[in-house]
Amino acid sequence: MKLQEYRSKEILARHGVPLLAGQTATTPEEARAAAARTGGPVVVKAQVLVGGRGKAGGVKLAQTPDEAEEKAREIIGLDIKGTTVKTVLVAPAADIDHEYYLGLILDRASKAVTVIASAEGGVEIEETARTNPDAILRLPLHPLIGLQEHETRRIGFFLGIPAELRKDFATTMRGLYAAFVASDADLAEINPLVVTTDGRLLSLDAKIVLDDSALPRHPDLEAMRDLNEEEPSEIAAREAGISFIKLDGSIGCMVNGAGLAMTTMDLVKLAGGEPANFLDIGGGAKADKVTAAFRIILDDPNVKAILINIFGGITRGDEVARGIVEARSNLERDVPMVVRIVGTNAEEAKPILAEANLITADSLDDAAAKAVAAAGGGA
């Protein structure tokens, strides 16, 4: 789960990272009041999770509260890559002398929390990795003892932090690491970390991505989820315990197992169609979950057909078939459905499905072809 900038800064500040937190506003008037409280020039920043908000006009400097209100009016309601801005952060402006990048990732290759640091801040780290890989320090930390002082010093020297700010850098580095561990993050980055013209070290922008598997033990962080940023169908799916991602095609997919769900999408594409979603219904394929999955898929008006692919294994195929037929009878909207069930009693499933006017298929390739045909050819 990605956190908004102001949430990420809130967490970093809690762990002692020096920054100018600012205040959030959801109306131009609130932005004006926030700027007045701050005093001096402010930056008005759209709170969206997509990258490139600056280029999209989502970050603006304002010298006065009047100007802050005006800029907030321009930004709130702006569409940035499909997300409508609802909240802005009004933060004190800083005169920048130098920008750095400082991040921590959970690196699956080195199996360690790894520091990524670069003296070329303010640009995306992927960009630096392409243009000047030597400017990046990658430092895997010990998984059992974590960040050590000598590592903090080494990172500071690598970045060329001015001598008088090394203490502040150590506070920032320790705070970033503590925040990463305490919140079970996947990624925590400060970009840019800046030295201001008046000689302060400050974290001007921050991003934290949390490990979804750890969210159950962090109800306070779960509460920071921004529902404005999520598809309503994806919210409904999460509540139903279904793994779902909306896509742009016309063929809905309902599958048990993530790998098989991806494969089903791939085969729809191979058969000349476009998948409307990724959906992993999990084990068992019980009628209530199937009903919820049907509703979520059919909520998308682009869906012209549904491909149901259940590899039952030891689950009884005829029971899955009855569940699908029952779930379908509860639906308000109907589209052609192609069902492929593998498992014990898969043969007994066929007459149950055929009687309910569902198209059956023996193989996954066959099911994908039939679903594409039922949806009226290509996407």
């Binding site: 998984p143 598997s213 033990r217 197992g257 790998g259 593998v342």
Partner: protein, 293 residues
């Protein structure tokens, strides 16, 4: 022979009295797996699976009493890291963790401790493994297999079953099928299993099933080019997955910088001379093309 588990496997099940644990332990027992013990803290002295398996409070006690040499873990995600550490502390050499949803930072610590202890960990978030007609450890349905000489390694669950079924239907039997798990931090990598298959005299050909995310398939391809001379075929799931989204498995994500795509993995495998199937159903034919009877 084959790899990791066989007739000599004396299996312990952690979480044997839970719903999942009991259901799948019954299926394992019916397959012929030698389940010698179960562990559920607080239920020591009782028995599970209709009196067929004794239950102990601790793994150490179970090992001492029964000589268990492998453990399969079915406990909920919040308790799984501790269960893996307990099995390793009791010096069980092989631990298979089925549980999905273990926090990654917990897994980092568990991974390194188990490694230091010399414990082989499979998973977490995996379907387990089966040596056909000898031992089934985990949740892979027993009825899809036929005994043969193709080894299979996969990051997935039901997709593995799909490929195994396609092979069995085509008259192509398997030696051992291993699901290594769909999480970003897992105990056993593709390379570990490929190396075992490469050295196993009962395995004559190898199938590898990968998916988007990370770079393990690319590393495995380089390893195969260097070390493996047995015929191979592969499949990579997620060609249609959008970047930046986690596709069900915690580890199945193409980074926003564009790393971990199906194309990159496919290209690396083909570069290593391994044919990559467009559909799981094509795997048997690719193996035949590669010289498998």
């Amino acid at each position: 022979m084959s790899i990791l588990v066989n007739r000599d496997t004396r299996l312990l099940v952690q979480g044997i009295t839970g719903r999942e644990g009991e259901f799948h332990s019954t299926a394992m027992l019916e397959y012929g797996t030698d389940i010698v013990a179960g562990v559920t803290p607080g239920k020591g002295g009782q028995s599970a699976l209709d009196g067929r398996v004794p239950v102990f409070d601790t793994v150490a006690e179970a090992v001492e009493q029964t000589g268990a040499n492998a453990s399969c873990i079915f406990v909920p995600a919040a308790f799984a890291p501790d269960a893996m550490l307990e099995a390793s502390a009791a010096r069980i050499p092989l631990v298979i963790c089925i549980t999905e949803g273990v926090p990654a930072l917990d897994m980092l610590r568990v991974y390194h401790v188990l490694r230091a202890n010399g414990t082989r960990l499979i998973g977490p978030n995996c379907p387990g493994l089966t040596t056909v007609d000898e031992a089934k450890v985990g949740i892979i349905p027993g009825n899809i297999h036929a005994r043969g000489s193709v080894g299979l390694v996969s990051r997935s669950g039901t997709l593995t079953y799909e490929v195994v079924q396609a092979m069995t239907d085509a008259g192509m039997g398997q030696s051992t099928c291993v699901g290594i798990g769909g999480d970003p931090i897992i105990g056993t990598s593709f390379i570990d299993v490929l190396d075992m298959f490469n050295q196993d005299p009962e395995t004559e050909a190898i199938v590898m099933i990968g998916e988007i995310g990370g770079e393990e398939e690319e590393k495995a391809a380089a390893f195969c080019a260097r070390e493996v001379r047995k015929p191979m075929a592969a499949f990579i799931a997620g060609r249609t997955a959008p970047p930046g989204r986690r596709m069900g498995h915690a580890g199945a994500i193409i980074s926003s910088g564009g790393e971990g795509t199906a194309e990159s993995k496919r290209a690396a495998l083909e570069e290593a001379g391994i044919r990559v199937a467009d559909s799981p159903s094509h795997i048997p034919q690719l193996l035949r093309d590669a010289g498998v009877r």
